[in-house]
Symmetry: C2
DNA sequence: CGTCTTCGTGCTAACGTTAGCACTACTGGA
DNA sequence: TCCAGTAGTGCTAACGTTAGCACGAAGACG
């Protein structure tokens, strides 16, 4: 690799002068600058950021720590972040945890060793103690999920309200046997979504146990399929189903298609998230849409500002985005009844 | 940040001893090692990779340069790569080019400045001259797309064969007016796919202009929608359509759904790639599936081996994976005819 | 003509880590 | 007893870059 020293030797000047010329120092004459730049370009010089970092410069890498990039929710986040940060000269490091706290820990160790400038993390349910320590040394921001030990800077969705609305839609159509399949309540997001579901039930005057709830491990497409099989059995099977995660929704849709379940005839379905394909699934999936782009952009801006400010901790920060119900064809009143009210 | 020096001072020993203890040098006594590790752990020491790199150690970061992570083909690649490399202690840097050669160049500059260990790249149609220079200095591997200036190490799909098979399926069903909508022939992949389409036509005894071909910019969902509108107009509209990119397929499916086109009654469709949703779209999409996982794993293994070997250039390397036709319900003989032969 | 300023450049140290060499204190054999 | 060998540790330089200080030349001003 070419260094400033190579350039200096070739031009018969000192490394300092080369360094200053390349950083456009006003003390260097225009003629020298020109010759240095010329030589640098010819020789294919590329500055070594590792060396700069040794001199106190900060890294230009921000890490995104998520469960699984194949989940299109996260890939959209990654895309938006990347776009926003590229504009500011930052690069994106991608770390997948697979919802395994030990993998998460290994990644955080590497990120810390690499002295990344910042971290945006969707934490696992119970991060390892060392992960907590490592994050303390890095500007970071929690996304979607929130764990108290990781600080109070968080960008998330109003999960309670999102599920309340999705469920209320079904209640308003007259459903009384409504099932919920969501993620574990270990995660605050999971707990909030379940709570939102229950709120809607009680607001609709339905007893709590009118809802059959099933909790699955996070990121489990397969569990969605299994849940469908279990729910459709039995005499008082639910007439409607609300989902609490994208992956579960994908699994549910696949299974419903395979089994040829009539939607919304046999079962009304409210999905979670809005993926390409949800609109053309069966009669079109009514679903709880999330403002992914806005969230990602918000995250990026917050972090960029935080990194530039160099102020250490600028207090707690919480940004909550609402979900919005996208009504398509997968929901209808049970047995053809007319809905009491429309929401 | 804690350094080896901090540890050394606290224990009243030299930095060398600390460094050696942490790297488990056999010359250091077990007792000293124990004390050092203890102190390091208590003080939250994390080695500084930038400093190690200055001493000649190589980076543990591999970059993936792709058009758009939201394309689930690429997110699957990213996932598989990440998984394989995490096992070897490597981290993944994600760079999105948006198929813009200048963005690609900016990313490559950053990657080079960061001295990433290697690069896996899906190049833009005509990479910038400087991009070519930069990649020369980095172990790299082209994926899917291939540009001659970027060397001869390439992992790809047998695009010609993939499209030949997809088209042959329609020819065998008796279609004579078959349209193709694919990416630009500027990209070798695009050219190969078009060639595969034409091969199948001529093998089926159909004249070349039996096929209406449309070429779109890469990664263009929207163009897929437009193409449908154009193709369905006119008296001798095609009875079948073959697609040459995932994004185009997504657009086409959306538009066909919206316009309520009967598939395969009015139009038979062979898609490209296999996404979640393709199986439940309309009657199920017959599509050209790609062995994404195998390719990603192959790439990861090749690069890992290349980086460990430290041998500079181990000659040209090309790995070609075949596509496989996944037959679902979106293809049928035109006007109810029985297929001549089934393939 | 001497001093003061300005311009352009060079020298040196420092960032954190590691490898080579040097040094000390033992141990064992002649 | 003396030397060789070895175990354990310290000192120093080096990686590439940059910031502080110093230096020489040239011009400005009294």
């Amino acid at each position: 690799m070419i260094t400033t020293r190579d350039i200096a030797e070739r031009l018969g000047i000192s490394v300092s002068t080369v360094g200053r010329a390349l950083s456009d120092d006003p003390r260097i004459s225009e003629e020298t600058k020109f010759r240095v730049r010329q030589a640098a370009s010819e020789m294919g010089y590329v500055g070594n950021r590792a060396a700069r970092m040794m001199r106190g410069a900060s890294s230009n890498v921000v890490a995104l720590v998520i469960p699984d990039i194949r989940n299109s929710f996260y890939s959209t986040i990654a895309h938006e972040l990347s776009k926003n940060m590229e504009a500011e000269g930052f690069q994106l490091m991608l770390s997948e945890t697979d919802d395994d706290r030990m993998v998460e820990l290994r990644h955080l160790r590497e990120l810390s060793a690499n002295r990344v400038a910042g971290v945006i993390i969707v934490p696992t349910a119970r991060p390892h103690g060392d992960s907590v320590k490592l994050l303390r040394g890095l500007p970071h921001l929690q996304l979607l999920r929130r764990h108290p030990s990781l600080g109070s800077q968080w960008f998330g969705v109003d999960d309670h309200e999102a599920l309340r609305r999705g469920t209320a839609h079904l209640v308003a159509q007259g459903h009384t046997r409504i099932a919920y399949v969501g993620g574990p309540t270990e995660l605050p997001t999971g707990a909030e979504r379940l709570r939102g579901f229950r709120s809607a039930l009680s607001e609709g005057g339905l007893p709590d146990d009118a809802g059959r709830t099933e909790l699955a491990p996070p990121s489990s497409v397969d569990h969605g399929r299994q849940a469908v099989r279990r729910l459709l059995k039995g005499p008082d099977a639910p007439t409607a189903l609300v989902l609490g995660s994208i992956q579960l929704t994908l699994g549910v849709l696949e299974e419903l298609s395979e089994q040829g379940v009539k939607v919304p005839g046999e079962l009304s379905v409210v999905g979670f998230g809005d993926e390409p394909g949800f609109s053309w699934w069966g009669p079109g999936l009514t679903t709880i849409g999330l403002p992914i782009q806005e969230m990602a952009t918000g995250c990026a801006l917050w972090l960029m500002r935080r990194l530039k400010a160099k102020g250490d901790n600028d207090g707690p920060y919480t940004s909550v985005s609402p979900g919005s119900l996208v009504v398509r064809g997968s929901t209808a009143p049970p047995d053809g009844k007319t809905p009491a009210t429309s929401d």
